[in-house]
């Protein structure tokens, strides 16, 4: 029974740490800790947002040659170039340029895409819902595969079921989404003709791309859930629940699952945040009019203003999701507040 100072703050040590407020006081200190943690998160988030904007800003400046030329079509005239340079404030020091850039962002001005001949903000605003829809469908499929598979593997640990589930996860982990997409099109669209090869419209258009996107995620979710469940099932509180005569199914799906689902939440959060990366290839192959297709076209056309903004947006989305996951965590696991 050591009195490790680190343990004092979380009142989980043996006995009652003398300094720890008990009873009604604990609720108040929770609240204080929660706001404290929230503030720390927000501070960190601001640093992260600053970093993302610097990277996005630096992207275009890193390129060899005239940044203004990079943002223009290859056949731009000298006057057009000069106008662009003035618009970008290239005659000013980089710090000033950076603040101009951020100032524009804050006003919602993400620049102009010469490839699409449109405002970047408009383009992104139109594409984002499509990608969100695709991502949501993929997440449903991914969890629909991962939860039964992971639970089966953990509960029937060491059996044939476990090996089969883990092999399925391994295949998913090793499958290139490029190749899977091509194969899916080949089989279901070209050979069987059941589903359209590409485009958007009714539900039949979303099935193949969502399946393809889900294939990248279900493997990790399955493995996380399995290891989380195995960890939880080995805990004393599981044996204690069984010792009270609580039925096995309830012990697994309630007592163990809620504990195991917490790490899964982080994984799912980061997968949603990473949906833009996955959608790049999938949307390109299935011609799905989302951010990924926008990005793929921007890269092909070397439309740097658009690339820069998508980089920024993907960072923003991820950051917001991280905050949401954090908030969910504190709701689901009250210990976080105390530690």
């Amino acid at each position: 029974m050591g009195d490790n100072p680190a343990a004092v703050g979380r009142a989980s040590g043996p006995g009652s740490p003398a300094q720890e407020p008990e009873g009604a006081g604990a609720a108040r200190s929770d609240l204080r800790a929660l706001t404290g943690q929230g503030m720390r998160r927000v501070l960190q988030t601001r640093v992260v947002l600053f970093g993302i904007s610097v990277i996005a800003f630096a992207l275009v400046r890193l390129a060899p040659g005239n940044p203004a030329a990079l943002l223009m079509p290859v056949d731009a005239t000298a006057e057009q170039l000069a106008a662009m340079e003035a618009r970008m404030g290239l005659d000013q020091p980089p710090v000033v340029q950076y603040f101009r850039y951020v100032g524009n962002l804050v006003r919602g001005d993400f620049g102009y895409s010469y490839f699409y001949q449109q405002d970047v903000a408009t383009l992104i605003g139109r594409a984002l819902p499509n990608t969100a829809l695709l991502g949501f469908a993929a997440m449903l499929i991914s969890l629909g595969i991962a939860i039964p598979l992971g639970m089966l593997a953990a509960i029937r640990r060491g059996t044939v079921w476990d090996s089969m589930a883990m092999f399925a996860a391994l295949i998913g982990q090793s499958m290139s989404s490029v190749w899977l997409a091509v194969l899916l099109v080949l089989v279901f669209a070209v050979k069987l003709g059941w589903l359209p090869t590409s485009g958007s419209g009714g539900i039949e258009y979303i099935i193949l791309p969502a399946l393809c996107l889900a294939s990248q995620d279900y493997a990790l979710s399955t493995r996380m859930l399995r290891s989380g469940m195995i960890g939880a099932l080995g805990q004393d509180y599981i044996m204690a629940a069984r010792a009270r005569g609580i039925p096995k199914r309830r012990v697994h799906w309630q007592y163990a699952f809620k504990n195991a689902a917490l790490p899964l939440l982080t994984v799912v959060g980061s997968q949603i945040g990473g949906v833009l990366a996955g959608s790049l290839i999938v949307e390109r192959i299935f011609n799905w009019p989302g951010i990924g297709l926008l990005m793929a076209n921007a890269i092909a056309a070397r439309d740097f203003q658009l690339i820069q903004s998508i980089l920024l947006i993907s960072g923003l989305i991820y950051t917001v999701l991280a905050l949401v996951v954090d908030a969910l965590y504190t709701v689901l696991d009250k210990r976080i507040v105390a530690s």
């Binding site: 008990e22 204690a240 629940a241 005569g245 096995k248 210990r335 105390a338």
Partner: protein, 564 residues
């Protein structure tokens, strides 16, 4: 403390008046064998165990680690691992349990027998409120609505003297202290009126004062409801405190079964005798203080402050402690968890810079000296940690772990270091063949010996021992303490001995300090501190320690009860 009678309701009274006569046998184990089949072969962990439990009886099963006591008790509820093979017979209230399927076990778990675990913070699910876990336990067997179950949960919490049950039923486990969590576990165990409660080391993870309260609670529950209790423990003091009968287990066998008073008065089996002899006794004789020699360690107004966390201020783990430790002297620092004793040890060892005050080791300030001086000062320091598994790097062989401190100085030949390692292995009574072993290949006692050898390789002037034996079995603890004493006589180091075990402190140390909330409550020669304590906290602490003598212990219990 006692249970308030107004907490008992009609429902409870019914449970108390359970059918059957006192003294009737309600659980009988007959020639129980449990073995595990692993890749390395078949391991028998329980070998032909037979025992009986009578109605309203408290039966203690005593043994050291590996004796098979926990596996036996878990088999009664069918909680043994799936790989276990069981033969023999377990009869609970006339029903044969060996070979029962999971569903049938589920019907009797909680209703006929239930269980309380060692570590309440691990046995409660951290992501559910205690209320919802209790409601689940009740509704697993009783067809009642959630609201009714909730009322029942509050009533149960009241029965186990849980403070403010109605308000705190919605608390999460981490919001409760260790003692409160164990009360919740006991309340849950009672929820479907079982006739047997199996308590597996229910007080081992708790401080002594809390332990005394929990033991009283179990005792009272038996008296009020006639519940039979099996208590699994390694602590002879606990046995002496509450058990009616004792079963002693060693290496999977029952070596002795006897009435508690008989067992302590006249142990029949050789192993029981050894076990009882190894129990540290409270030493209250004054003893002869060693002649006053030069000071090795001086602490002046040392304070250690920790931040509580973002925006929550600070607290003092160690609050203005001053002390002196002389050559060849042993100073025990005792206290409960959170008293700051381990932080003090870390400050002395140079691991935790004090916020204020100075630590002088042989006259040199440990935290203000130059690099070279620090090296020289640290050469005079050895440290033994509590957790035998954590204190050795799993990556290094024993020889490296012991020899590294000398090797790092760079002034020794490998040959000399090697010879010195052999010398120390001999001194701590380890075979030289352990040199090439890795920590996971050693037992807890062996690891602790390696730690001692490592701490002594540079012939330290001061040895800091932070709970060096609290993770060990009693008999191993006894050996390690004897070894330390011998080595001290031989090598003459001063020893700062951190412990929560008052009996160990009293028998091992020349002087003692009692700490509470970072402050020194009482200090003096250990005979005086433990024999004639002046402060009420010290008195309370000493009264809480169960003595391994049922006559004295029960006299003490009735004194405490009368005093309340």
């Amino acid at each position: 403390m006692s249970i308030h009678d107004d907490g008992m309701t009609a429902g409870q009274a019914n449970a108390a008046a359970a059918p059957g006569n006192a003294g009737e046998i309600i659980l009988a184990l007959d020639d129980l064998n449990i073995s595990f089949r692993t890749m390395g072969g078949v391991f028998e962990v329980v070998k032909g165990v037979s025992l009986v439990l009578k109605r309203g009886e408290i039966l203690a099963i005593v043994g050291e680690s590996g004796s098979g006591k926990s596996v036996t008790s878990r088999a009664i509820l069918g909680l043994h691992p799936r790989t276990a093979r069981i033969s023999g017979s377990i009869r609970l209230l006339g029903e044969e349990l060996v070979g029962l399927d999971e569903e049938s076990f589920n019907k009797l778990r909680g209703t006929k027998a239930s269980m309380v675990f060692q570590e309440p913070s691990r046995a409660l699910n951290p992501v559910f409120t205690i209320g919802s876990q209790m409601i689940d336990a009740i509704r697993a067997h009783k067809h009642v609505s959630r609201d009714e179950a909730r009322e029942r949960a509050i009533e149960l919490l009241r029965i186990v003297d849980f403070p403010e049950p109605r308000e705190r039923v919605n608390f999460y486990p981490h919001q409760l202290s260790g003692g409160q969590k164990q009360r919740v576990m006991i309340a849950m165990a009672l929820s479907c009126d079982p006739q047997i409660i199996i308590a597996d080391e229910p007080t081992t993870a708790l401080d002594v004062t809390v332990q005394a309260e929990i033991l009283s609670l179990l005792h009272d529950l038996r008296d009020r409801f006639g519940t039979s209790i099996i208590i699994i423990t390694h602590n002879m003091g606990v046995v002496a405190d509450i058990a009616d009968r004792v079963v002693v287990m060693n290496d999977g066998h029952v070596v002795e079964t006897a009435d508690t008073f008989e067992l302590f008065a006249a142990p029949k089996d050789e192993y029981t005798r050894r076990l009882l002899a190894a129990v540290p006794k409270m030493n209250t004789s004054e003893g002869t203080a060693p002649p006053s020699l030069s000071a090795v360690l001086e602490l002046e107004d040392v304070s250690v402050r920790f931040a509580r966390g973002f925006g929550r201020g600070h607290f003092l783990a160690v609050d203005k402690i001053g002390l002196t430790l002389n050559e060849r002297e042993t100073l025990a620092v005792v206290g409960e968890s959170g008293s700051g004793k381990s932080t003090l040890a870390r400050a002395v060892a140079g691991l935790q810079k004090p916020s204020e005050g100075t630590v002088l080791l042989r006259g040199i300030d440990l935290y203000a000296a130059g690099r070279r001086d620090i090296r020289r000062v640290r050469r005079g320091l050895g440290y033994i940690f509590q957790d035998p598994n954590g204190s050795l790097n799993p990556h290094h062989q024993v020889a490296y772990s012991i020899g590294a401190p000398l090797l790092r100085e760079g002034t020794y030949e490998a040959k000399d270091v090697s010879a010195r390692i052999d010398e120390l292995l001999d001194a701590v009574r380890l075979p030289r063949s352990v040199r090439a072993k890795y920590p996971h290949e050693l037992s807890g006692g062996q690891t602790q010996r390696v730690s001692i050898a490592r701490a002594l390789i540079r012939r330290p002037a001061l040895l800091v021992a932070d709970e060096p034996t609290s993770a060990l079995d009693v008999s191993v603890q006894d050996q390690v303490l004897r070894l330390l004493k011998e080595l001290q006589r031989e090598l003459g180091f001063a020893c700062l001995f951190i412990t929560h075990d008052l009996a160990v402190a009293s028998s091992f140390a020349d002087r003692a300090i009692v700490m509470r909330r970072g402050r020194i409550v009482e200090q003096g020669p250990s005979g005086l501190v433990f024999g004639a304590p002046q402060e009420s906290y010290t008195k309370e602490l000493i009264a809480s320690v169960p003595i391994a003598d049922p006559v004295a212990q029960r006299a003490g219990r009735s004194r405490v009860a009368a005093g309340m």
